[in-house]
């Protein structure tokens, strides 16, 4: 058992500060356990969002020692405990209180994305036939738990607050899942280029680094989408080819 100082951000949208709390850390504890212990022992009014404690609900996203992480999936034994452990809410979103940030912007973004529009059913009973190799790529994207750590670490949102012009890595994963779906017939590329702002991504791969589901966000979702945008809007030979062979 070790006594550890947790430096927790306390405050609301009007402002706040870090406050130190001591608690005992025992073997096997994760940061969320320690936060709950602090809540029970010395800060009963500490606000923290959590649910599954298993890394599957994406509720307990925060910044632990400056790194966007899930509190329930960060073992205390994996962080240095000889100095105060800082825990603060996600920086890319407005604070509600203490460690809880307002992520509602993300749900509004999701509603802006053109929904799934399947082709006509393949079979008389109204079903489709899909081969596994056609759906493999998309299945990776379905692992997303919407913890929004990728949104938080993305400097376009975090540093430059381009929330009105850029949908962020989470929603490029979502868009890629729709765009690459073998049944989908919707065209989202004009929006990807303009309203979704894919050009703002400068491929720092920070989103991939923080993803607790290990989705290869940049290489498998964002860059393939960028390449499709290049096909449509920037590649002069492809444009010429399309013009020459366009069906009248």
């Amino acid at each position: 058992m070790t006594e550890v100082t947790f430096r927790l951000w306390r405050g609301d949208k009007s402002g706040g500060e870090f406050k130190d709390y001591q608690t005992d850390v025992t073997e096997g504890m994760v940061v969320l356990d320690a936060i709950h212990q602090v809540q029970a022992e010395s800060a009963g009014d500490l606000a923290v969002r959590w649910n599954c404690k298993a890394g599957k609900c994406g509720s307990c996203s925060a910044e632990i020692n400056g790194n966007p992480r899930l509190m329930c999936m960060t073992r205390c034994s994996d962080i240095p405990l000889d100095e105060p452990v800082t825990v603060q809410p996600m920086k890319a979103f407005p604070v509600i209180r203490d460690l809880v940030s307002d992520v509602s912007w993300n749900y509004e973004v999701k509603q802006r994305i053109k929904p799934f529009k399947p082709r006509k059913p393949d079979n008389a009973d109204g079903t489709w036939t899909v081969h596994q190799e056609d759906i493999d790529r998309v299945q990776e994207f379905r692992k997303c738990i919407e913890c929004f750590l990728c949104q938080d670490v993305c400097h376009v949102l975090r540093e430059h607050s381009k929330h009105d012009e850029f949908i962020g890595p989470r929603y490029f994963v979502y868009t890629a899942a729709l765009e690459m779906h073998p049944l989908d017939t919707e065209d989202r590329l004009p929006e990807v280029k303009e309203a979704y702002g894919v050009g703002y991504c400068n491929i720092t791969k920070c989103c991939t680094v923080v993803c607790p589901e290990h989705i290869t966000i940049t290489d498998n979702a964002i860059i393939p989408i960028k390449e499709r945008v290049v096909d449509r809007f920037y590649d002069p030979l492809k444009r010429l080819f399309r013009k020459l062979f366009a069906k009248s």
Binding site: E63, N65, G66, N67, P68, P80, E83, T86, Q88, K91, A92, F93, P94, V95, S104, W105, E108, H131, E133, D134, V153, H155, V156, L157, R158, E159, H160, S161, K162, H163, D164, E179, M180, H181, P182, D184, G197, G199, Y200, C201, N202, I203, T204, K205, C206, V209, V210, T218, D219, I223, P224, K226, E227, R228, V230, D231, Y234, D235
Partner: protein, 265 residues
Amino acid sequence: MTSVSAAPRSGFGKTQRRDKWWLKPVMVFFGLSMFVVYSTWAAFQGDHYTHGPYLSPFYSPELFGDSPHAWFGPQPGWWPSWMPFSPALLILWAPGGFRFTCYYYRGAYYKSFWADPPACAVSEGRKKYLGENSLPLILQNVHRYFLYIAIAFLFVLSYDAYLGFWFTAADGTEEFGIAIGTLVLIVNVIFLSGYTLGCHSFRHLVGGILNVFSKNPLRKKCFDCVTCLNVKHQLFAWLSLFWVGFTDVYVRLCSHGVWTDLRIL
């Protein structure tokens, strides 16, 4: 839509991170800087770029030049007299452009040279941000055209490696052989192939553009192969960068007589 006001922007390098977040960008900065400085110096030398059957990759393809590897003869008459001539200056823009617009290198040098951001979750203290949405960085979308040239270069460099097996014997005839330089040239082609064929644009070209793979099994196979290389794109980017520079050093030092090219066979 709800207006979002995240935490206020803080100064350059501000972060709560405790790890050595600065180490990787600093290493990338020095690694790339050293390569740019050396390759620029080597490109302007214009001599000692061949040794025996070997041709430095910085000078290949040698379009015009004085060595037997030159495709179209010596320095062309139209070359401006005020400008120093080197065969490397005619071709290095192509592999240089391929690497400069490469998705991996872009992410790496935006962090290391532009500090945009300096590292993940580290403040950059910059107000204006355009990304790759407008000029000049929108021009990075030309990457696929550099890819096409880089693939052509792979064939040329493979032929150079093949020539590295053929040495001039004492009686003036050509004989098959293997020397350290032969292996250096072969490893160069292997690393460059690993890097070029793992390119994100190539992955898109061979199959990434498709949504239905089951109707294109050959393209699915190609896509899977390129994906295997793409996963190691960063590794091959650095291996090939180091080795192409080392290959030039090897040929140059052998040509100067500083190193001896040992024959194995």
